[in-house]
Symmetry: C2
Subunit: 216 residues, 2 copies
């Protein structure tokens, strides 16, 4: 079995679905967690020392027997395929990829909302919600709800859990923590049930109960 | 052999590397090209009719024997793996994925520049160049130059061309056409030579000579 080391900040963020994949597959890994940055501009001494040694100057990085893999989706796909959570056919794999890319198109508006919330200006938060975050979320949710409506398994692709499910379930939690996903709302029922289904998988449930929690 | 149909606008854009992959692999496909939109808000009747039938309300879409695959990177990865241009090991495949995700992180600033150029306000263009596009481009180019410096083959990953090379070579052309990549600049030499290497592959050369050209 290869030696895996996953390096990220002490946040869920871009690394959490990878940590969950290790747990799902019952594979040991070294879970290296750096102190989170206060902002992109404000590095910590620990991160400033590590940064030039990473392939792209970013985290997460997965190290496999000494070989570094950067970029969160590339890491997830690599582990998903190794461990059997990437789809069962080339077509299922393409749909897993497409779901995650669709989610990634939503990251810029989500980041704008997070920045506005940190800024604390109510007018700016309202503007971002109305003009960018809101429409982007509505578009993503419409796609996700349509897919879940047709799904026989209750998962996004095929008949079992994939890394796309982990990514989407985790982002629902992030949005809930940011106050922009209401789990009691009827229109969010499908997505709330979906997250519950993912988080009820015994390995995921145990992982989530034991992990250090964070807003993002 | 499956029947392939690739639907996109009559632009290079997000579909061009997929068209090049078909040519590289000598595989026939139906190259459906819709009239380009004037803006995201200004649909054409043709696109408005097709849009609700696409999986995510977006193009490109690849249809394989009646099965739709959305999202450009998912399409490229699917074809790249089918045709043998996705890397030769799981680790090479992960690096191809990581290169393209790193490029995708650059798309938001690139889009901001395109929007500013369309707006035609010189001050706004200068501001975007200085604050967002410029730093993002410098970061991406630093990564690409570092990788090309270490590459023995002259390609980004492994010893042959992959779909990541096609994506990066094409975006260099787009940046050149937008006036933000100077092929005569010494500091761009590695990237200029790299693009030339990709575009000199006989199938790519023939394809590029025959294609309808566009700025993006």
């Amino acid at each position: 079995m290869p030696q895996y080391k996953l390096t990220y900040f002490n946040l869920r963020g871009w690394a959490e679905p990878a940590r969950q994949l290790f747990k799902l597959a019952h594979v040991d890994f070294e879970d290296v967690r750096l102190e989170p940055l206060k902002s992109v501009e404000n590095g910590t001494p620990e991160w400033e020392a590590l940064k030039p040694k990473t392939p792209f100057g970013q985290l997460p990085v997965l190290n496999v027997d000494g070989f570094d893999i950067p970029q969160s989706a590339a890491i997830l796909r690599y582990l998903g395929r190794k461990f059997g959570y990437a789809g069962k056919t080339p077509e299922e794999e393409a749909w897993v990829d497409a779901m995650v890319d669709q989610f990634k198109d939503f990251v810029t508006p989500l980041r704008q909302l997070i920045m506005a919330q940190r800024g604390g200006n109510a007018e700016e938060i309202e503007k971002v919600q109305r003009e960018t975050f809101g429409p982007a979320r509505d578009n993503l949710f419409k796609i996700l709800n349509g897919i879940l409506e047709k799904s026989k398994s209750g998962f996004l692709v095929g008949d079992g859990v994939t890394w796309a499910d982990l990514v989407i379930a985790d982002i629902i939690t992030t949005m809930e923590k940011l106050g922009v996903f209401d789990v009691t709302s009827a229109e969010n029922k499908k997505l709330t049930d979906f997250r519950e289904k993912v988080n009820s998988i015994p390995e995921i449930k145990e992982h989530n109960e034991q992990r250090p929690d964070s807003v993002v």
